[in-house]
């Protein structure tokens, strides 16, 4: 059986919310042992972001938290308490990587900056993923995904185009993008350590990572002073392209007519008859949109998808967060996996998008309960005595429930 590439790597995970935990979920998918560390007093807010009236321990039963924290271990430690900090510094020598996504100054303020970690383990890899990075004028700004999207340039490029209004992406898009880049940073730093024996301090600014996904807009701005153009769903490189309503509630498809050949194939498949004649490009596009919309309006989205795809024309359903879990292609590829969870009924969770055909990454275990692995790590890995652990618990440095649960 082939091993996963990060098998044997241990990660101390101080990250919270989405960008960091998304990164460490992917690292766990690739075989790393991820120890998620939270303070009983300052825990990952994602646990209770969605109110769960009536739940006895809502911090353990959130689908949001549990989807992004599976395959990890949970250790509670109050790093602001000297005893918690000392325990953390005993853990660091057993770890290859420390990850954090606090605001820029927080880790240093806790007295756990890179130099301190290096004293605990010379070759430690620290990955920091603050919104704007550890240095620079804007380092003190607070940034979450939607803010990062505005500050990266991406939001300026999204919009219907007829009202001048930039539109936010429907998810906190900066988070998972930064998360995937942070995974790559960890891997590259491990390669660096393998080759040189040295650790690394990775200073990742979430805003910068997102700007790398719109590089061509910087070429246009720097060479020609061009401002971004919001085009709705159209694309100037194609003959026509749009989003069309289908039968059913809020059911839509997208179709790209790349060139005249696609248009001919689409007409043949749909029976649309239209003479292009002497029209301006915009008028022609509007007319094409009307014809396609008319054809789609009476058909279900799956019927449109399969008919247009059979004709060799690019088409995609606007799969929503329900229908995507019913998509027959993802189903057939085994993308959704149900894992048992002690507090929740099973739900379809995504397996790794990094399909190593031979090593085959797979989901292992549900997200840990709060502090579930305190004994295993403090007693087992660090060799603390039972009375030492009891003392930490009595002092509130560790715990199996948040000290101050409320709505995130």
């Amino acid at each position: 059986m082939k091993r996963l590439p990060l098998d044997g790597v241990r990660i101390a995970d101080l990250t919270m919310m989405w960008a960091g935990p998304y990164a460490t979920r992917v690292l766990a998918e690739m075989g790393a042992e991820v120890v998620k560390i939270e303070s009983p007093k300052a825990w990952d807010n994602i646990r209770t972001l969605i109110p769960q009236p009536g739940a006895t321990d809502p911090w353990n039963s959130s689908y949001y938290f549990n989807d992004y924290n599976r395959d990890k271990k949970s250790l509670t430690l109050d790093l602001a308490d000297p005893r918690g900090k000392a325990a953390f510094l005993r853990l660091v020598p057993h770890c290859d990587v420390v990850m954090e996504n606090y605001r820029a100054e927080v880790l240093d303020n806790l007295g756990l900056g890179y130099e301190v970690l290096r004293e605990a383990r010379e070759a430690i890899i620290l990955v920091s993923m603050a919104g704007y990075g550890k240095t620079g004028t804007e380092r003190g700004h607070v940034g979450f995904g939607p803010i990062i999207e505005q500050m990266s340039g991406l939001a300026s490029m999204t919009g219907y185009g007829d009202d001048g209004v930039p539109v936010k992406t429907g998810i906190s898009y900066g988070d998972p993008v930064a998360g995937k880049a942070a995974v790559a940073a960890v891997v590259l730093a491990l390669i660096h350590r393998k080759k040189t024996g040295q650790g690394a301090f990775i200073d990742l600014a979430q805003r910068e990572v997102l700007s790398t996904l719109i590089g061509e807009a910087f070429v246009a701005a720097s060479l020609r002073g061009e401002a971004p153009v919001q085009r709705g769903n159209r694309d100037s490189r194609y003959f026509a392209q749009g989003v069309y309503r289908c039968a059913g509630e809020e059911q839509w498809v997208s179709i790209s007519v790349r060139d005249a050949g696609d248009w001919e194939r689409l007409c043949n498949a749909t029976g649309i008859v239209m003479h292009l004649g002497a029209m301006s490009n915009d008028a022609r596009h509007d007319e094409i949109d009307r014809r396609i919309a008319g054809w789609c309006a009476w058909r279900g989205p799956q019927e449109v998808l399969e008919a247009v795809a059979r004709a060799g024309v690019p088409v995609g359903r606007i799969l929503d967060t329900k229908t995507i879990h019913e998509d027959r292609h993802l189903e057939e590829r085994g993308y959704w996996v149900e894992l048992p969870h002690p507090r929740m009924h099973a739900w379809k969770q995504p397996r790794s998008a990094w399909q190593f055909v031979e090593a085959r990454p797979s989901l292992q275990r549900h997200a840990p309960l709060f502090g579930e692995h305190n004994l295993e790590i403090l007693g087992g890995l660090l060799g603390m005595r039972a009375d030492e652990i009891a003392e930490l618990e009595a002092a509130g440095v560790i715990g199996d429930a948040p000290a101050n649960p409320g709505v995130g």
């Binding site: 804007e138 590259l188 390669i191 910087f218 839509w252 292609h329 057939e332 959704w336 709505v407």
Partner: protein
């Protein structure tokens, strides 16, 4: 290690649309010897080519030589349609059996298998099939694609991470792997709370335009657009910055009451943002630790002080002048800004270097 962490790593790019070209751009930046085989003209726009091809060597050659180069490579990154590689003698499994140390990364809209594997796709249709689009756009209008070519770039981003992970695996275990990246799968697993909500509760979330709620949205301001995204613990600071005495009331202070008065709160925020500039809003955000943002255009960012201090942009000379492009994705490992090469310019040198031949 000033040559970069991937110095000495040979990467062959085949197909060369945005997904493969973006994945290998970062490899080149971190020191790999990236060779781009020429692909169908028009796969990249001129601006995309300036951004994505800097630092790569370019070869124009025949299928037999591409095969030999593949076996001389450490990593092959390709984004052709499923089955195309096999038809030209580059079947990844065969290449892997001939050279177990090789990693092949294949990036396609739907992956190598399954009922949609052969469907044609574009950035738009891929973005739609990944789920994010259903959440994007104004509720009363059609779903909207996010700007640029996000589905394609996400494929490249994922392929890069997976490829270097496989290369790390090679250093440890002596073997590469074949990695099947589907754009749809890259997106379907990053649907924030809405994905798991749909899976757990069986209901679809509806796109909410620029306002998830009043305190999590985008507003017109005096000189453009600015936004706020406040967690519960930041609400007191936000209200204090807004300075409106009406807010000192249970209907706004109580997190369980606030959603019932969201329209009223949104109206107040419209008023507040409308009277202030982006710079004022960002300054208040930093001073009071409130997550404010402002919509910046790429041109604004080229002049941004922080990005200049952090040395974010690379400069690339083109026939139309010097372009400034996003450079290293993070600090901490050596990065090199590359030059643009002409198509086919390095053919003889590459054959010499990789195949030990002089032509």
């Amino acid at each position: 290690m000033d040559d970069g962490v991937l110095a000495g790593v040979r990467v062959l790019e085949i197909g060369g649309g945005v997904p493969a070209a973006f994945a290998t751009r970062w490899m080149a930046g971190f020191g790999a010897d990236v060779v781009r085989t020429e692909s169908t003209p028009g796969k990249l726009t001129d601006d995309e080519a300036v951004y994505l091809l800097a630092g790569k060597r370019r070869i124009r050659t025949n299928a037999a030589t591409v095969r030999r180069l593949s076996l001389a490579a450490d990593i092959v990154v390709e984004d052709r349609k499923p089955g195309t590689m096999a038809r030209v003698g580059l079947d990844p499994e065969t290449l892997r059996s001939e050279k177990p140390a090789l990693t092949v990364v294949s990036i396609t809209p739907y992956g190598q298998t399954g009922p949609y594997a052969d469907f044609e796709a574009t950035n738009l249709t891929s973005f739609a099939m990944g789920g994010i689009m259903s959440l994007t756009g104004m509720h009363q209008r059609e779903p909207l694609v996010t700007g640029g070519s996000q589905a394609l770039y996400l494929g490249g981003l994922n392929a890069f991470g997976a490829a270097v992970a496989a290369y790390l695996g090679l250093l440890i275990q002596g073997e590469g792997d074949w990695i099947d990246i589907s754009l749809q799968e890259c997106m379907a697993g990053m649907l924030e709370l809405y994905g798991p909500r749909g899976a757990y509760e069986g209901v679809a979330s509806v796109r909410s335009g620029n306002h998830v709620r009043a305190t999590w949205g985008l507003y017109p301001c005096a000189d453009g657009f600015a936004g706020v995204c406040a967690l519960e613990r930041q609400i007191p600071a936000l209200f204090s910055v807004l300075g409106d005495p009406d807010l000192d009331d249970g209907r706004f202070r109580n997190p369980l009451e606030r959603p019932n008065h969201d329209d009223e709160l949104q109206a107040k925020l419209y008023g507040w943002f409308g009277e202030r500039t982006k710079a004022e809003i960002l300054e208040l955000g930093e001073r009071h630790k409130v997550p404010f943002g402002a919509v910046q255009a790429p041109g604004d960012l080229l002049a941004n002080e922080t990005l200049r201090e952090r040395g974010f942009f690379d400069e690339v000379s083109t026939e139309n002048g010097a372009a400034r492009i996003p450079g290293r994705p993070f600090l901490g490992l050596a990065w090199r800004a590359g030059e643009l090469h002409e198509p086919g310019a390095d053919t003889a040198a590459i054959i010499g270097d990789w195949l030990g031949q002089v032509r």
